[in-house]
């Protein structure tokens, strides 16, 4: 029954794995560079939480940021490429259900996010081994965070008709949301107005919850973060499935 889903899921995995140098190695290297530069510049000036060094603080944030950006990139770039080259027709003609289509794209993107995240942790942990106090929270936020971004990528891929539209989505929405989410700083160090604005950013909750799993401290309660991230996921998933069901920009 779910053979169609399974096949599309495997195809999506193979698609990024065949170019893993670009889809996995490159983002891991970028995260490593961020870490080297920022830790060098800020290590002595900033101590975000008592007893937590800036490098330790930065590593989970960078890992999560890379995971989120790559989960988004996987579903969105796969869809837009298929749309522009025209081979999406081979996925639209078979009897794949709307839900199978949704699940395959989103799960494959989550896998890419997790692989990149594991890569970032693997190459950065030598600088400051992460504490990992609540591994379950780490997994929950990693999976849910990637799920949110994978779904958003699916929506962006369905919506965009050209590569530059997708690039605009990425540069003007995804990058600001992730950069301004507390990857590089604790939001408590921000002026009041920015603190309030940060609380409206769902990515902040993903990163804060993920970081809580490592240090057992966060800017807000992990349960609060879980609620926000889960509701965001449900809303986006519902919207994406609705778009697929109606055939918006896929079936004319």
């Amino acid at each position: 029954m779910m053979r169609g889903f399974y096949t599309l899921f495997i195809k999506e995995l193979m698609r990024f794995w065949k170019v893993s140098f670009q889809t996995v190695a490159a983002p891991v290297l970028t995260a490593l560079l961020y870490l080297l530069i920022f830790s060098h510049v800020l290590q002595k000036q900033v101590q975000p939480y008592p007893g937590v060094q800036y490098v330790e603080f930065l590593i989970p944030g960078l890992a999560m940021m890379s995971m989120l950006q790559n989960a988004f990139a996987n579903s969105s770039s796969s869809l837009i490429q298929s749309k522009i080259t025209g081979n999406l027709v081979f996925i639209l003609l078979p009897p794949l259900s709307h839900f199978e289509l949704f699940l395959a794209y989103v799960l494959a993107a989550i896998v890419r996010g997790m692989v990149v995240g594991a890569g970032v942790l693997a190459v950065t942990c030598w600088m400051a081994p992460p504490a990992l106090q609540h591994p379950l929270w780490v997994m929950v936020f990693a999976l849910l965070g990637c799920g949110v971004m994978a779904t958003l990528g699916l929506i962006a891929g369905i919506w965009a008709e050209k590569f530059d539209q997708l690039a605009a989505f990425q540069n003007f929405i995804i990058v600001p949301l992730t950069f301004l989410s507390g990857v590089f700083y604790s939001i408590h160090t921000l002026p009041d107005i920015w603190l309030r604005i940060s609380h409206l950013n769902p990515v902040f909750y993903m990163i804060d919850g993920f970081r809580f799993g490592f240090f057992g401290v966060g800017d807000v309660s992990p349960w609060m973060s879980l609620c926000v991230v889960f509701l965001t996921f449900l809303t986006l998933a519902g919207s994406a499935i609705l778009l697929i069901c109606t055939g918006y920009k896929l079936r004319h």
Partner: protein
Amino acid sequence: MPDAISFRSIRKQFGSLRALDGVEFTIQEGEFFALLGPNGAGKTTLISILGGLTKPDSGKAEVMGFDVQTHYREARRNVGIVPQELVFDPFFTVRETLKFQSGYFGLRNNQNWIDEILENLGLEDKADTNMRALSGGMKRRVMVAQALVHRPPVIVLDEPTAGVDVELRQTLWDFIKRLNEKGHTIVLTTHYLEEAEVLCNRIAMLRQGKVIALDTKDNLLSEHQSVRSLNIRLSGGNLPRGLHNKLISKQHDQYQIRLSSPEELEWVLAEIRVAGLQILDMGLDKPDLEQVFVATMRRHDAHA
């Protein structure tokens, strides 16, 4: 027994363009059917509706009795469509492409049938080649193979031989003919009318989104049987003035003259004799599908 394909009052508008305007016809199981028409007549839109790629504004399309919208999964399992545009996934080899396509249709162990398709389409040597490295003709073969992986009872080919060499055409049509003999319904659009004439037994002609002719090939041809043309080579002077309004074409001393009825032949020959000309060579042309097509399109335009 349900029809293999049925279209009921299909209408589709793209902006100000009326792509399909009340298309209605059915195709029986086992037919070899040609859908003909000039560019922009609506053939591809109609096929897209069948595959669920396009949604009609109104009307209903069914494949093997399954509505393409309300029972889309069953409908799609029953039809294999070869799209007109040459598209492929550059990440994978031919075999990977076909394995994935089988999986999308819910098939697990499809290796034997994939091998059979590869062999029948002359693709065995290319099975492990990346799609990017294939020539245009080879890519086209893979597209045909992709449409056949799930052994669909209805096979739709949208201009499968556009821009491909003679060898592929032969290979492709031999295979498709065999599938038709085994009971598969075949629907074909093509600009090569001689292909349609040789292969198909029933024909629909589309123009500006409307069906303007729908009949068996034999009926369409016999309807135009009275229209023939005479090919004649003359020496000793030019074509007599009285025959100028019958002239279709002229090349050096060779003339093609339209005959509205077989009886007209005697009158034409008499005119030539009276003018004192010598006949070097002559022959009669029977109407072919191309002439029927052109005549049908002209008649439609005259009434439009």
